[in-house]
Symmetry: C2
Subunit: 260 residues, 2 copies
């Protein structure tokens, strides 16, 4: 099932995506919902970030082919050897499919990081890796937009990771998928820049949820980035970046310069 | 004026504190409000964190007498020489007067950091230091609870700063105060551990708001810690910690061990 959050007119609603249509629902996507009977063409709604999280976290560097770059730009040797979570730092970075990634004038090198994103479905604290899947609602695509020139050396990653619209997620939540079997593609201006298998993660999704929950209480709708694969590259205003993950869909965002 | 957020029964309300009473208001504390005519004794309400922020930020090390400790525990030489903001990382750390500071079993050295907190009153982005005061609603007391043994070496300060209830703020917002003239006292179990003058800040409050707003959009209710003074010390379960700032009031919190 694919669960989307969308806007039609002034109202924000949820729906289940089927083919080119979206069947509106009422109730809670985390507990129980019913169909309203209304169906809208996908082309006529504005897809939003699929949740409004309280926490937007990450599990840390998590693919062998990304470790050298992660170590070099963050100055944190050893990334990836254990789960090393962090927070995006600002909820203003959350945005959805087709929302613009905004580049401020003094951001020197702003990279895409194409990632599978865990969507938490139930409140949890101190859950085991074995129990963690019960607290996961599903998965979506994410772009952990990151400034690599120098901002990752800030004490917290407030600028490197948390700038407005630097955390696009979407287009919707796919439930009933096996994260270890998913395949990802990153396209920049339609050209394939990177392909990866989510099965190459060093730490799997339940382990990441379990680890973070040893410290934080996770809430329904919380989002957890599971790490970038490969060597990421810079985006510039005018680019269009797409994160496509099999069985989920494609998250597409234009890149624009901030108007100052 | 002292503006509080409080709970009475099941309802969350706002009010203006006068003497030992709180005059209930309706409307927006950021725009326009009226008195409802109800007044409650302070002793009969539960004071809450005075806002529900979207951003809980800090301006970075900001007092000359705290720099050596900040550099040693964070591994970031040069803290304080310029404004170096960071994010508390989790909004679950926000709590109010008398709420418990919860110590997890593997947090080794959890310090108080007594600080003046800026309360943002209006949305702002890219404001100058000269214009920044127009976007500040007032000030409150804060305790930037921080793990100093090793967690400040995490990539983001998610555990060092962001654990549940590690950001007590309150007891209310004081408007119409001059932050440069305020005096602070930190008491641990009734004993004065530290006293300071907010006038000793390296970077003043308007400069911090202006700097953060060059990158983030700040929203009404956002909270900005302005830095600890002095050499902080560890708290342990059973302690009671108080941050008192002149013209504002006293933020008091018991310290408890997490039940696991």
């Amino acid at each position: 099932m694919r669960i989307a959050r969308f806007q039609l007119g002034n109202r924000v609603r949820h729906g289940v995506v089927e083919g080119n249509g979206i069947r509106e629902i009422q109730g809670s996507i985390y507990q129980k919902f019913n169909y309203t009977g209304n169906t809208y063409p996908l082309s006529q709604v504005k897809l939003l970030a699929p949740t409004t999280p309280i926490h937007f976290m990450a599990g840390g560097a998590n693919y062998p082919d990304h470790l050298a770059q992660a170590n070099a730009t963050s100055g944190r040797p050893g990334a990836g050897l254990s789960i090393r979570p962090w927070s995006k730092g600002s909820l203003d970075c959350v945005c959805g499919h087709e929302d613009p990634i905004i580049i401020p004038p003094d951001a020197k090198e702003v990279h895409w990081e194409a990632e599978l994103v865990i969507v938490v479905g139930k409140e949890c604290h101190r859950v085991s890796p074995e129990d963690a899947p019960r607290y996961i609602l599903g998965y979506t695509c994410g772009n952990d937009v990151s400034e690599k020139a120098s901002w990752e050396k800030d004490f917290s990653n407030w600028r490197a990771k948390g700038m407005k619209n630097w955390g696009p997620v979407g287009p919707w939540i796919a439930t009933d998928v096996d994260p270890g079997k998913l395949k990802g593609v990153l396209r920049l201006n339609g050209r394939v820049e990177h392909e990866w298998s989510c099965g190459d993660m060093i730490h799997d999704c339940p382990s990441i949820v379990s680890y973070i929950s040893q410290y934080y209480t996770l809430h329904p709708g919380d989002l957890i980035l599971t790490g970038a694969s490969g060597v990421t590259t810079a985006m510039k205003p005018g680019d269009v970046v797409e994160v496509e993950i099999s069985e989920i869909g494609t998250l597409r965002n234009p890149v624009v310069a901030e108007k100052v």
